[in-house]
Symmetry: C3
């Protein structure tokens, strides 16, 4: 489970990094709290961070349930895909929101695969 813990910590650290970048965009473009609109570059970074939070809400429980029921090694591996996918998502979204597809898919897919796989595993345990 150590590998799963490390991957979780790295994914949370990435989210904290994105949050810090939202803060520095606030400073750069003079978007004062509580406003969350006002400059396109700020708004894009803010949406990247918000979408990353949405993904984490499903990803973290999915990863741990999968690690316990199925396999911690494959969980950690899919977690690494998630993290790489998020960096791609940020890079493409900030350049052009319409190009966010690949980065989004690379973070969505690991979560979806782990949820379905763990669900099948849990249901089979009742058979």
């Amino acid at each position: 489970m150590q590998a799963v813990a490390i991957v979780t910590i790295l994914a949370l650290a990435q989210f904290i990094l994105f949050s810090i970048q939202v803060g520095s965009m606030r400073g750069k473009h003079g978007v004062k709290a509580p406003a969350v609109t006002g400059h396109p570059e700020f708004e894009r970074m803010f949406r990247v961070q918000q979408n990353t939070m949405e993904q984490l809400v499903a990803f973290v429980p999915a990863l741990w349930i999968f690690a316990y029921l199925v396999n911690p090694f494959w969980g950690a591996a899919m977690g690494l895909v998630f993290i790489v996918g998020r960096f791609l998502y940020r890079a493409s979204y900030v350049k052009d929101p319409d190009s966010r597809g690949i980065g989004f898919t690379l973070t969505f897919l690991p979560t979806a695969v782990m949820l379905v796989w763990a669900l099948v595993d849990a249901l089979l345990s009742f058979v």
Copy 2:
């Protein structure tokens, strides 16, 4: 704990479904990222998804703490109430945001009951 895992997976799958529906409302009404306003139907579905995320942030830890400290079976049962309540919440919110009360209560109550019950149980363990 298998039943608790299944209910958690179903609640996360419901959240992912709502997220996909936000995406299709973007397409339907031409609300281009990073905008999160622009058409009432999109805004309602977006708020349903955002509120579901807020609820999940408290519900998932509440469910697992309750399952460990008190009872996994009752945890899973309250999780099913949560999921049904969320579907009611979405249906009523999309029709008329002012009618969201019952669906909201059915998702809020299971979380509140599990938190209070688990807190009492944990505090009693120190007596």
Copy 3:
């Protein structure tokens, strides 16, 4: 782990309290759902609740990973700092968003310390 469970429950209860206060600000200032802007006092309370959710998404997994890998007692203690910090954050943000620094730091620091400490601990276990 009972102390860690209690601190988690209190942090989630605090978040639920903030959510209820967002709801009462809706009523007070006539900000009807799905709108999330319209009155400064509502917008400040809404941002306090949203930022608390962002913090919880990292804090709760950080706390439990730290408690398992390092030490549940110190985890619970840092959790109490988090909760006190969040009340300071709310109090200062509602008065003047620019003064939110200290409250923010007191909630950010426990999470950061636990993540780094647990990461070092997990990495050392492979040596």
